[in-house]
């Protein structure tokens, strides 16, 4: 079985120890978490973990089973890239003088569809959302001019198909 990219979506109670419990499942199997994002979900008081891994389908199936087994996890899913709409966000901090001295910078901003978040005398900050390769491309273009700071977020994604959490929660409550 070949390695693929999978996005694991975990709906859970908002519990302080759960991240530790979930990350331990990956640790035990020597599977690297490529990106991790935790946020609120579409349901009140339900959190959503979005975890990206590069592994085989057998392993991702196994891991999702183990995650779902955790008491505070409501449901876990895994999807391939084709089955999801996904993005990452990045911030670039760049010296302000470059904005005036290097014409090319303005072209990069325009062509990359990035936004200027703030400008000060010393630096300005660009925000870019998109696929990993788009952010990487922008990074490569800006690199020769000097990037003061760079950060990229974990992947966030929604699935093309429905994830039936609300009905599951109702079912749990009736059991």
């Amino acid at each position: 079985m070949k390695n693929e990219w999978f996005t694991i979506s975990v709906y859970s109670e908002n519990n302080v120890g759960l991240l530790n419990r979930i990350s331990g499942i990956f640790l035990k199997r020597h599977i690297n978490i490529e990106s991790l994002n935790v946020s609120k979900s579409e349901i009140d008081h339900v959190s959503k973990f979005t975890i990206v891994v590069n592994t085989t389908e057998k392993w991702v199936h196994n891991i999702v089973g183990q995650i779902e087994k955790q008491i505070e996890v409501i449901k876990a899913f895994y999807h391939t890239d084709d089955e999801t709409i996904y993005q990452e966000s990045a911030l670039f901090k760049i010296a302000s003088n470059l904005l005036f001295d290097e014409r090319q910078i303005q072209n990069i901003i325009k062509e990359s569809n990035s936004q200027i978040v703030t400008v000060s005398r010393e630096f300005f900050v660009l925000a870019k959302s998109g696929r990993r390769f788009e952010i990487d491309e922008m990074y490569e273009q800006l690199k020769p001019f000097g990037i003061m700071q760079f950060v990229r977020s974990g992947r966030i994604s929604v699935t093309k198909d429905e994830m039936q959490i609300t009905s599951l929660l109702k079912e749990f409550q009736h059991n």
């Binding site: 120890g17 530790n20 331990g24 087994k69």
Partner: protein
């Protein structure tokens, strides 16, 4: 009839009252029907011990000599009684000493609630005296854990702890309670937990899967059942027996499933796995339908996975969805509690008797008997064998004893040759292989089934890992029978060194103390047998005793356990010598 006192207690728990967190913990335990706990006091749990002192007429606390002993005793208690075992310890080292027992209970699905004291809330994270992050440490080895920092949380969390520990696939739960939460007061009222919204204890059986499974079973020519502890945990012994008899299917067991079906049942074909029986191992790779029930295809059961039952359609009856397709692909997965799923499939099963197929098991048994079993149980050589000791225990106990084994050669021999008539009679550390398990587990087993004989069978290595628990046996006069099969070696490791490491016996030779004197030091009646002529009468004397009894049997130093599937070999490559 409800006594006045009981009535008062019921009313007290129904209406709220202002009490300390420590007292609330006791009321929670009582409300859950707990009357026995194992533990060890210390600074951060002292308020609870102070309440235990006041409630000692209702709740017995057994002081083990080490916290690990408390967890194993609680496990032994849980495994024979089917109830939740409770262990208690203080913070720091008290809590970390529970970890082995938690891991053991987690991998062997044993319901435990462990309560640990913790430094006060305001000291958390300050590296206070005896502070340790037991939540972080115990997370991978607990079904659930939680740190209570407010007294008001206690009733709900304790109720949840018991519910989670015993429901679905059982497991250990740890509740860590800061000292301030034990001292502070709360308005106490207790309500048993009946559900947690994010947790589904057992999946509902799927009728389509049941039908597919029944079709496969009905059309099978060479079906084989392999059951595990899921039968015992699901209380499905009767359903298993009915299925086996109705469909006429040879049935084998994993070490954790032992005793769920009478050893002498004609369709019980023995143990699978590394040191299991020859027939069920070899024939796993010849059956056409493999019916796995409440077992998890551990590597000690399957041997090399790439060559495990590849010719067979696999039906997996399982309560834990995460176990399905984890190691072995299931053609049909029947999810749910084993009692429920087996009950539902029984009416769909046609009567059958696979006589020719069953005869193959008998033939293989004869081969194993002639080459291995006969020499193990009825040896003609001078030295004593572990097998003949087990056989004497079978005879002297009329196969009715609870057999508690430790880990190693004696465990494999014990599980191979102990005979059972009653379920929940084989208590062993199956998944984790925890040396030191048996002595404390036997204490718990005896307290969980006072009407039954409990015999602990232990090697000289494992015995010395928890030997201090003799103190509990002495102090409380726990009438367990302790049999140490002493070969002055770490026998199983020595066997591997002999077979796979060119007889380089690195650190497996033991210079042992006088075990009889040690037992006598604890005022436990003790005998040593070194010759065959004394074995039968001494075992009989031991079994007839109403008191604790220690028996050391000096067995052959370099005996090996066979059959054996070497690590990494296929089940069909099982060796008879």
């Amino acid at each position: 009839m409800e006594t006045l006192k009981e009535k008062k207690t019921a009313q007290e728990t129904a209406t709220s009252m202002k009490i300390s967190g420590a007292e609330a913990i006791i009321h929670c335990l009582l409300a859950e029907g707990v009357d026995l706990i194992y533990g060890y006091p210390g600074g951060a749990i002292m308020p609870v011990y102070d309440e235990l002192y006041k409630f000692q007429d209702k709740l017995t606390h057994i002081l083990t000599r080490h916290e690990q002993g408390a967890t194993h005793a609680a496990q032994g208690y849980a495994r024979v009684s089917g109830r939740v075992g409770v262990a208690m310890a203080t913070s720091g080292p008290g809590a970390t000493n529970l970890v082995t027992g938690l891991a053991d209970a987690q991998i062997d699905s044993t319901p435990l609630v462990c309560i640990t004291g913790q430094v006060p809330r305001h000291l958390l994270g300050s590296d206070a005296f005896q502070e340790t992050d037991i939540i972080g440490i115990s997370t991978p080895v607990t079904k659930w854990n939680y740190q209570v920092t407010k007294a008001s949380e206690i009733p709900e969390i304790m109720a949840k702890a018991f519910y989670i520990a015993k429901s679905g696939r059982p497991g250990p739960v740890l509740v860590d309670i800061t000292k301030n939460a034990q001292f502070d007061e709360l308005d106490f009222s207790y309500k048993k937990c009946t559900g947690v919204r994010s947790y589904k204890p057992a999946p509902k059986p799927n009728p389509e899967a049941l039908k597919q499974a029944a079709d496969l079973i009905n059309n099978a020519k060479k079906p084989l059942i392999v059951w595990g502890q899921g039968i015992i945990l699901g209380k499905a012994e009767q359903e298993l027996k009915e299925l086996v008899e109705k469909a006429g299917i040879p049935a084998a067991w994993t070490i954790m499933g032992a005793s769920a079906l009478d050893t002498d049942h004609p369709l019980n074909v023995g143990m699978v796995g590394m040191h299991g029986n020859y027939g069920p191992n070899i024939l796993t790779n010849e059956c056409d339908v493999l019916i796995a029930i409440g077992m998890r295809f551990d590597d000690r059961v399957t041997g090399r996975l790439e060559d495990y039952a590849k010719q067979a359609k696999v039906i997996h009856f399982e309560i834990d969805p995460a176990e399905v397709n984890k190691n072995v692909h299931a053609d049909v997965a029947v999810l749910g509690n084993s009692k429920e799923t087996l009950g539902l499939i029984l009416p769909l099963i046609n009567s059958n008797s696979h006589e020719q197929w069953h005869n193959l098991f008998k033939e293989k048994y004869q081969i194993e008997y002639d080459t291995v079993i006969k020499n193990d149980i009825y040896p003609t050589k001078e030295g004593l064998t572990m097998g003949e000791v087990i056989e004497e225990i079978n005879l002297a106990s009329d196969q009715k004893a609870v057999i508690v084994t430790d880990v190693g050669q004696h465990q494999m021999i014990g599980c191979r040759y102990a005979k059972f008539k009653e379920s929940k009679s084989n208590i062993t550390s199956g998944g984790l292989g925890t040396m030191g398990f048996a002595l404390p587990a036997a204490i718990g087993a005896k307290m969980g089934a006072m009407d039954r004989e409990v015999v602990a069978i232990i090697g000289d290595g494992g015995y010395q890992m928890t030997i201090q628990e003799l103190g509990v046996i002495f102090q409380h006069n726990v009438p367990v029978k302790i049999v140490v099969l002493n070969n002055d070696h770490l026998g199983m490791v020595r066997q591997w060194q002999e077979l796979f490491f060119d007889r380089r016996y690195a650190s497996t030779v033991m210079t042992n103390p006088d075990f009889v004197k040690i037992a006598e030091g604890y005022h436990i009646q003790a005998k040593r047998v070194t010759e065959r002529k004394d074995l039968k009468s001494t075992v009989q004397e031991m079994m007839a005793s109403k008191n604790p009894y220690f028996l050391e049997v000096k067995v052959e130093k370099e005996d090996n356990v066979f059959p054996m599937i070497p690590s990494g070999a296929a089940v069909s490559e099982i060796r008879l010598k």
